[in-house]
Each structure stands twice: as structure tokens, then as C-alpha cells.
Symmetry: none
Subunit: 232 residues, 4 copies
Amino acid sequence: MARPPGGGAARPARAPPASGAPARPGHARQGSRGATVATPHTRRGDTRRRIQDAALSLFVQQGYEKTSLREIAEQLDVTKAALYYHFRTKEDILVSVFQDLARPLDDLIAWGREQPPTLETRRELLRRYSAALDEASPVFRFVQENQAAVRDLSVGETFKKRMFALFELIREEDAPLSGQVRAISALFTIHAGTFALRDIEGDPEEKRAAILEVALDLITAADGGGTAGRPG
Amino acid sequence: MARPPGGGAARPARAPPASGAPARPGHARQGSRGATVATPHTRRGDTRRRIQDAALSLFVQQGYEKTSLREIAEQLDVTKAALYYHFRTKEDILVSVFQDLARPLDDLIAWGREQPPTLETRRELLRRYSAALDEASPVFRFVQENQAAVRDLSVGETFKKRMFALFELIREEDAPLSGQVRAISALFTIHAGTFALRDIEGDPEEKRAAILEVALDLITAADGGGTAGRPG
Amino acid sequence: MARPPGGGAARPARAPPASGAPARPGHARQGSRGATVATPHTRRGDTRRRIQDAALSLFVQQGYEKTSLREIAEQLDVTKAALYYHFRTKEDILVSVFQDLARPLDDLIAWGREQPPTLETRRELLRRYSAALDEASPVFRFVQENQAAVRDLSVGETFKKRMFALFELIREEDAPLSGQVRAISALFTIHAGTFALRDIEGDPEEKRAAILEVALDLITAADGGGTAGRPG
Amino acid sequence: MARPPGGGAARPARAPPASGAPARPGHARQGSRGATVATPHTRRGDTRRRIQDAALSLFVQQGYEKTSLREIAEQLDVTKAALYYHFRTKEDILVSVFQDLARPLDDLIAWGREQPPTLETRRELLRRYSAALDEASPVFRFVQENQAAVRDLSVGETFKKRMFALFELIREEDAPLSGQVRAISALFTIHAGTFALRDIEGDPEEKRAAILEVALDLITAADGGGTAGRPG
DNA sequence: TATGAATGAGGCTTCATTCAT
DNA sequence: CATGAATGAAGCCTCATTCAT
């Protein structure tokens, strides 16, 4: 019977995306692939990827619930049935996008666990998180704006776990409550700030720097103890 | 029919149901009514309110898109058509809930505009915002978790405007970028912190205090300038 | 129990519209009553009439099926329930309008039956029919445009019978087929011509005259026999 | 999905179902297919056509508004959703039926425009119109009986335009008013006569002939001027 | 003489999904 | 590698109607 791939693990033989190699940098428009080294075949076997791209793009634009498979298919000029050749369900598309795009976060957490739990580690975590956000931005934004929809999707649980893990790495276990809050706040500052500042004036790079600065201050103050935002 | 109550604002003069008085304090659980003064609660004529309560409750639990009018009706043991007697559309239910529940935020903004733009005013704004959040929490949580769904609902625009107005009051117009970020961050700390800390240990009142403390520090530091978290 | 009148025959005591007196001439806009002698009470007990007027007006504008009781009620600034105080069903409203407005046609048929079946009688029937159409135009137009909708309403059967009766009076029983067709054609010319020529140029009175002239010619030719349009 | 067949005109190149060829002659009863050349009628792939047939049949029987998609679907033993696979809306079904069936009228108009505007042309137009009516009868009858319903459907405008075009061809531009009326009357005689005489005695072919004769007389008289119905 | 509240049926439409080809 | 055809469930909404007050 038709539909060999589709499954989570059982990918078709062709081009197993394997570890983490091609990384998909831009992810900007549908069908985007490598940047410098142009992949020659314009549309050959990359349908799966194109679906992911289109789906994410629409999910981000309109929300998960409000995006129908019809729309995704239409945007790609493919039939709905084609989507089902590549993915088992609508949720599966989302999951697959996450598997690819949330890796930076996984890597970050893995890295964090290997470091000593010093202030500098925590600061570096924030720096790296900020950078990661810049890259994988769509997924994060998607999660932020679709919390309710995503809550009882497998992806929701996954994501929550990761954020919590990150939080665990960033806070100082036995700091006072205000310290914990500062840690969370640092995280949120990066997270939400990134999106909130979009609508506001200024050079993107400068803005990112400012956000990071504030977050670092927060974490530093957290370390110092309750004297709020003042390490010294 | 000629004048169903469902109309936006222009309610008919007669039959003034809850023309502003009882303010609905808790609104936490479905069907919750007055706290101190026992409202008789005749279960007749309060259907409109019951719909609002049930709807909000479900919207918060499952998200706006995933909550169907059928569910709302079933929960109230009423037909769907009954909902349509009281409200013109699904969105209208949401809007009406907002009209009632977002007032604290409006009041806060109004108050803020009458004050001199001093640091102390900004601090007081944060304090009051924190208190308001505690009360109207469901609506705010709803907005936070349903951003995508709410984006192209009239309610979305409204809410965004209000948040922006609040931001305008809280930031110092010509502070450096990092100051602006700190202002936003203070707001988010209260906002998101309130929800994020729910899943975490500790006494609610203490947590609120800690969150507020951090936010106040942020705004204070913002005032001091770029020296991040350190006013002096 | 409420709802004393409503029924077809059992009208409330107040102002039994009785025979055919007030005739309702203009029927132009909602609430129109006598022309010269202004009825003083602007809105007292005439609700029944106002409903009929509004209903007919909407039925004509939008069609019977597409006009809802809500719309009628809204236009009168009354509740739907009020309509049900005056009429038992939606169809009843239509029926009542017909009862009042189709009388000219009944009278015409009655008159025709008392006359000798001469050509001149037939010609006079057409003349009077043309005049009747001008007055009761809305109902006729309504029937013409809502044939499908009206077909299985009691009103449909009634109307069909009347038109057939008129046809019987106008045709010459044992004329050749083409004569019969000419008779029908004469009727249709008046009927449809009245509506079709609306969108076209010219003075209304002149147009009516022209239509009548053609119809009279047709009936005259019909009388002459098969020699098509030539009496002599 | 990407390209459902339901699209208005721009059908995809492949899968050209009925791209103009078989013209669907009778279309009288539901499911009727070709007459002389036995179409295999595999009951597979002809669903679109079957929908059109069933729909027209029901539209004619009960009227457009009173025919629900449920009924259509039930009659075909298909789900409502199946209808939506083939057509985008209820109106679309109607439109598609028209596109196929109103062509004879279009052709007639096109032909008329190429002829010199002589009396004989006008007479031939009537003859051909009478023949066309006989064939595409259901659609015309449908329009006649559902004027109100069809008025604000795209199909209504279209049809009106066509009838007006035909009228323009048939009348003599600068004839006196009565001449114009005669032209319209000729059209209506064919149009309405065709339906009105159904309920009446006699051989169909004879009836058609009689109707045509009267119409031709009318147009001839129109040409002669005001002497109504008399060619000589 | 009406209204307020509600109902049950049904309308059109869309969705995620399936499966033979 | 994909399409064409279809389904069952459900969505939002509107309608004519009822009945206690």
C-alpha cells in the first residue's frame, strides 16, 4: 500500500537528514535551502521540506488551529493527499518542524549541563539563548503565540520541558525567591523582548544587544542576592 | 426580533442587567457570583452572565478556537440558539467578557495619564498593574495564551493598544535603549511571571511580592540610565 | 392564554376590517394609511396593518423565503413575538396581505362572469385588469417573482385559480389554438409588460397605454380567428 | 487541496471533463445522459454531472431557496461534503448548470448580432429562440419561477443581461412605443406561453407552432408600425 | 398588547482524514 | 510520488415558533 515514509522515524531512504548537518539557516521563504552552496535541483524530493516550510510559515502567520491542510497544500500547489504521503497527521507536520528547529535549544541545554554552575556559565547560557532565538525565531514565536493550541499537542509538553530545563540551568538553586524571579525574568526578557521590540524603532542588532544587556544584568543581580538589580 | 440584548454597547434603557454595579469580582470559576453580599442568584435572567462565565472558563482552559459554542451551551444546559439570543456571534461573547474585565486596565491607564511622569508614578503603575493582574487574571492569561487566535479579533487590537499605552506610561521617553528594554521587561516580568510562577513552589502572596520587587528594581534602574540594574 | 386574535377568522374585536372599505390605496411605505383624510392616531391598533405593509414590502424586495420574521420585526421596531400575536404563522401574514390586495382581481372576475361573453366584454376585462395591476401591483409582482416559493403555499393555489378564471373569461372557448394563445399572450403582455417596461424609458402613463393597446389588439385578433392579428 | 475541479472557468488542463463536446442535450430528468450515442456511464467520474442534474431537477421542482444541499446529496446517495468537493458553494452549482445550459441563448445572440437588422432576421430570431427554449427549458423555467431568489445571485444578472440583449435585437430601435411593446410581448409570448400551455390540452408540437405564430405576428406588426397585429 | 427567553431543526460550509489508483 | 474522490464530524449561525409573564 502507498505511504512508506510519513512515519516519525521511518524516513525514506533518500537523503536521510541525519544528524544536524544542513542546519537550514534562513528558513525564510518556501523551499529555501542552503545559502552559499546552491542546491541545484529546484524541486526534487524536497517536497517534505517544502511542506514543513510552508506549514511553519502559515502556522506562524495565522496560528495552528486556523491553518488548514488545504491552505498548506494550496500554497505548494499540491493536493492534500500529498501531505498525507509525507506526514501522518497535521500534528505530525508540526512535530517534524520542531524536531528540526528546536535542536539548537536541545544543544544549548546539553551544553549547559556539562558546565560548572557558575555565574559565568549562566551568563553564557543567556548569550547563547539569545543567539539561538535569533535563528530559530519562527518556532519560538509560534509557541509563544499558540500556547493554548499547542498545550495538548505533544509538542507543547516537549517545549515546556525544555524551557523548564533551561530555567533550571539558569537559576541558582538555593537563591532567594527574588533571585529565582530574576532568572525567569531574564529568560522572558530575551524571549518576549525579541518579539515585542520588533514593532519598535531602532537597529535590530542594537536592540538585541540591549535586550541581552538587561538580561545579563538580571542574572547577575540574581546571583548577588536580593539587592535587586544591584550586584555590588 | 427588535431588540435582543446582545447589542454591542447600546443596550435598551429598560432591563438594565448589571449596568455596571456588581462589577463581578472573582469571576474565577464558572458561575461564581458576588462574594460578600450574597446575590440571590435566581437562575433566571442571569443567563447572559452565566454564558460569559462559562465561555471565559472554557476559552482559558482550551483556547478560543478549540472551544465550540456547542460546548459552552452544553455546559450550561442550554441550546446553542440560546447563546445566539444573548450574543450575536462567538466573537461577541469574547468581546463582552473583555468589556467587563479589561476595565481595570483602562482605569489604570487613565490614572497614569493624570499623574506627573515621575519615577514614583511609574513604580506605582507597576504596583497597581500587579494588583489588577491578580484580579482580572483570566482575561490576561487568555490573551497571553491565545495571541494567534486573538490577533485578528477586535479584542486583539484593543488589547494591544492598551498594553502599548501602558508601556508608554512606564518607559521614560528619552531614556537609552536599554532603559526602554528594562521598562518592557518590568511589564513582562509581572505579566508572565504571574503565570509562570504558578507551577512553582511557594506562597502566592510571597511570589507576587517577589515579582513586584524585581519589576520595581527594573524600572528604577531604567530611570538611572544604562548602568543596568544599578541606580546609584 | 395570550394570543386571542391571530387566527384567520377570529379577529380581535377592535376595528374589524370587515368588507372592503378602507381599501388601502397607496401602500407605498410602511404605515401608509388613507391619503386625504389623515388618520390621527399615528400608531395605535394599526400594528397589524403595519406588519402587513412591512412584510409585503420586504417580500417584494427580497423574496418570501429570504425575508425573515426577524427582519420584519426589526423594521417595525417590534419583537418577533409581537408578530405572532397578530398572525399565527409566517404564511399567515402573506395570506392576509393577499386577502386584502387580491380583492380587485376577485371583483374583476365576478364582474366578468355577469357580462355577456362578447368581444367588447373581453376588451373591457383587459382594460380593467390593466388598471387593477397598477393599483395592486406589489402583490402581483410578488407572485410573479416568487412562483417557486409560493407554489406550495395556499396563496399559490388561490392565485393560480384566479388567473385561470380570468383566462377562461378572456379566451373564446372554441376559438382555434392560436386564438387561445393570443388571449394568454394578451394577459401576459399586460402582466409582464408592466414590470418589464419599468426599467425602460418613457412616461408611465404612455407606457401603460401602449401595453394596453397591444393587448387589446391581440384579443381582437384572437376573436377574428386564426388569421393572426387581422380582424377584418 | 490544490486543484479541486470546482473552479469557475480555469479548469486544469489535464482531466478535461466535458470540455464542451457532449453538450448534454436533454438534461430533462435526473441522470439523463446522451440519447443516440449510448454514453457508457460508468458511474465513476460522472459525479459532477450527476450533481448538476439532481440539483437542477430539485431547483426546478422546489425552488432554489427551498432546496437544501442535504437533499441534493441524499438524492445522489453522497455526503454533503462530496458536493463541496466538486463545487465551492451552493450558488456555484447553479452557476455551473447555467454555464452549460445557457449557451444556446448565447449562441443565438451572437448569431443575431451578425445578421442585418431586418424583419426577417427578427422573425428568425424568434423561431430559433422558440427552439432553444424547448431544449434548455428547465433553466429558463427555473429563472422564471425563481426571479426573486436569483436576483442577487450572479446568475440573475447574467440572465437579465442576456434577455435584454435579445430584446435589443428583436425590437426596432426607433419604432414607436407600441412597437417596442409588441417586441417584448413577442418574447414573453414564447417564454411564458411555453410554460403556461403545459397545463393545457393539445399536442405539444401544435402548441409550440401556435405560440410561434402569434409571436411572429406580433413582431411583424411591430415592424409595420402601430397598426397592431395586422401585417397587411 | 406585547416582550423576553428559549428551542429544535436545519442551513451552508470546512476540516482532517482515508484509500484506491 | 502523488492525485481524485469522498467521508463523517463538526463548526457557526439563522429560522420559525412557543410560552410564561
